[in-house]
Symmetry: C2
Subunit: 474 residues, 2 copies
């Protein structure tokens, strides 16, 4: 029975699959005290909609959240696919032995107190790895928040549902060395209605690493886009080899911390890994075809574009707005990201010139001024969609401007349908308060992403273009 | 009567004061059709709480929003301090004559169709300026969204209240060449409860310019911080001279668009001004003491820090978090912005070592791990406040982590009170969904700013430090 979830289309739970599709989970170090990490992890599973077996383990508790509590994993009646540790580090080697005897497939160590603390912790971490190898178990962590699966809702978070939103099921896989960045990305995704296939916070990365995970996601039919926050790589060569292969099929976006000597040092006391030299990584990434993000917002923004919009045929960008200021800054960013400002065809400009008032600017970037209605956007967008010299379209909106009527939603729907047929992605830019957020949300429900600043929409466009070139090299 | 507002503490309405403190406003080109710019501007004034006289002017309307409409400004019975034009450009020179005869003090031209369209528009704009000089009137615009005063609530927006929030009265003055960026900044301020003293969108800038406005704000008791978005400067030397004087007293933050050749070209068709060479501006800004922002978020973030927190005594930053990932990226940013990671005193580290579990890291950046409670933050913050080697404190929060109890609000209140006494600013970093936003909002109500990413909080810290050095040179 514990295997029911696992076998649905997955079979053997080999490799890292048990971390996402386990049919049974034991929480070793479960607690009956709300607010304790060992309580909150059980609560996440229960309240999160996970349908497999949940076994709290603690020799000093009768039950946790109404679930029978076992004194040891060896006392659990059925099989256990996955064990989650919320225990003091010193107890962990002994518990690894018990998990080995129980034939557990995967272990997630939430607890910190290992390599990030220095030589003594490093020795302890080595012992954990040695035991995992002996029993043929795989390990995620230590010093992490573990995993989340969008479909099985398996999750090992100590962040309660009232404090942290969970995203729906979808096709973005997130890997993060920092649990904190993980919580942020998951909530941003949830708020924008973006779906996640799998999420892994891997902390000190003592066993399962990025290379193995991206190879797994390459074959995973649930995953379309891979986004990673990393500090230091363990085996850089292994990651580069894997990313080189995978990114010809699925985009890999990487945010790399520790660009400076000081940052690298800080990373060492965070997850026990030096972050290494920026130049080396940049060169290696370039060669490996990964898409580099420069901050967490960009990582998220790029993933959003890649999951919602098609890869473009080229790098020529056209922009249109009812307020030109942000387009001026966008032109700067395009240039800095190596994208081109499209030269519109004479025919297209002629048609706009005929239909628009004389004070609209019909050159790219097209300025419809604050007087623009949705009809004006319709004219501009129809022309940009048909212009063969345009590969990517970025409409900017000042939704605050009262002349812009809500017919714009319908106009955008049509434009985006046409754009998809022609592999011409459409990314929007709009910022402001509640009304702008409502309008943006309506666009995003139609799978048209909206970004708050020119730099961010251009970074998203860059990711699409970079992915398109990777595909061409496949 | 029309003068009542004006004289309250201001007197003569000389120079640019009429734009903010006018006791009477005429909207020339007022319309009775909702959605038209000439209607929405009247509506903004009426619904925005402006207490002065409002005179809609249109030869073909009887009334607008229940206000009597006049055929010409010359028919208005009382005096008129300020005239707002929402008219086709070709009609404007004649109307300037009427305003001159009526002894209007200031004119705001919302309409576009001038210098940004090329030689013909430039000629028309020249004519407007010539008439303004002849009659001794001052002009803001053309091609802008005009002004907003936080106290008189005078505002000339065609953005309705249901689409655009207005901020409360406060001490930040915003100047922007782009109306669009203006709408965004105003809503961001409103949502964060940040107050604005004066707002000016100046578009093509045919008369009143940044130099004059910052000199006015220097003397303005309502203004403490000046934030500017600009594309091209008219008289660069004049601005640099003015900013050099003003920034020794009040901080001036500048976001400059048109960093690239292409961006500069785009700026020309936006507001008629070439943006000019990036290097020249950067050198000049450095010399002038302005604080450079690299995007709109940074402009806003810096203004927020400068209005809410004191200037620090130095550049040594200490950080503390219950999730270390963002601190790793912050260390990178500190380094890149020329700030220092503080070296904590032995005594302070000793005290924390004594009180904390062994797996907390008591070196800067201090990692309290996901187990941290508000008591742990209290210990860390008390020590950072008293450590003489620390000038700026940045607490990071993973509010999603359930062990972190809401006692943190009280802890932060105490820390920030102590920090203010010692001129030791406190800036926070936290990101996520609804719960995190609620907690952040509670901190900001206590005038402790919260930023969503490490880069953004560090940019804000940089602004405080840069302002502190400017003050020292005063």
């Amino acid at each position: 029975m514990g295997f029911v979830l696992a076998v649905e289309g997955y079979g053997s739970l080999g490799g890292v699959e048990a971390f996402f599709k386990a049919g049974s989970v034991a929480i070793i170090g479960a607690s009956s005290t709300p607010g304790k990490i060992g309580y909150e992890v059980v609560r996440s599973l229960v309240e999160g909609g996970y349908k497999g077996f949940i076994y709290p383990i603690n020799p000093r508790a009768e039950e946790v959240l109404g679930l029978k509590c076992y004194r040891s994993i060896l006392e659990v009646p059925g099989s256990v696919d996955l064990a989650v540790f919320t225990l003091p580090p010193s107890l962990i080697p002994r518990v690894m032995d018990e998990c080995g005897l129980k034939k557990v497939k995967g272990v997630i160590i939430i607890s910190g107190g290992f390599k990030e603390l220095g030589p003594e912790g490093e020795r302890l971490e080595g012992e954990v790895v040695e035991k995992a190898r002996r029993y043929g178990m795989r390990v995620i962590g230590p010093n992490c928040i573990g995993v989340f699966d969008g479909r099985t809702r398996l999750q090992t978070f100590f962040q309660s549902h009232d404090r942290m939103l969970r995203p729906p099921a979808g096709d973005i896989a997130f890997l993060t060395q920092s649990g904190t960045f993980g919580t942020v990305i998951l909530e941003w995704a949830a708020e924008d209605g973006l779906g996640v296939s799998k999420f892994v916070s891997y902390g000190n990365r003592c066993d399962v690493d990025e290379a193995e995970l991206i190879k797994y996601f390459e074959a995973d039919p649930e995953t379309k886009v891979i986004a990673i926050y990393m500090e230091g790589l363990g085996d850089g060569r292994r990651f580069l080899q894997a990313s080189k292969e995978v990114c010809r099929k699925k985009p890999i976006i990487v945010l790399k911390a520790g660009r400076t000597e000081e940052g690298s040092q800080a990373s060492k006391s965070h997850t026990g890994w030096m972050a290494g030299n920026k130049q080396v990584y940049e060169a290696a990434f370039k060669q490996g075809g990964v898409i580099a993000a420069s901050n967490l917002e960009e990582l998220f923004d790029m993933a959003k574009a890649l999951t919602l919009q098609p890869a473009p045929k080229g790098d020529r960008v056209a922009m249109v707005s009812n307020g030109a200021g942000p387009m001026v800054m966008a032109v700067d960013s395009l240039k800095e990201k190596g994208l081109k400002l499209a030269e519109l065809s004479g025919e297209v400009k002629e048609e706009m010139r005929k239909l628009f008032p004389p004070f609209y600017n019909v050159n790219n970037p097209i300025d419809l001024t604050g007087s623009a209605s949705s009809k004006d956007y319709d004219i501009a967008l129809r022309n940009l969609v048909k212009d063969l010299g345009v590969d990517i379209i970025i409409p900017f909106f000042v939704f605050q401007d009262t002349p812009l009527d809500e017919g714009i939603i319908e106009v955008m729907f049509k434009a985006s349908q046409e754009g998809r047929k022609l592999s011409k992605p459409i990314l929007c830019c709009a910022a402001g308060g509640p009304y702008t957020r409502r309008m943006s949300r309506r666009l995003e429900e139609m799978k048209i992403p909206v970004y708050p600043t020119p730099e961010r929409v251009v970074a998203a466009a860059y990711a699409l273009k970079k992915h398109a070139s990777n595909l061409k090299q496949a």
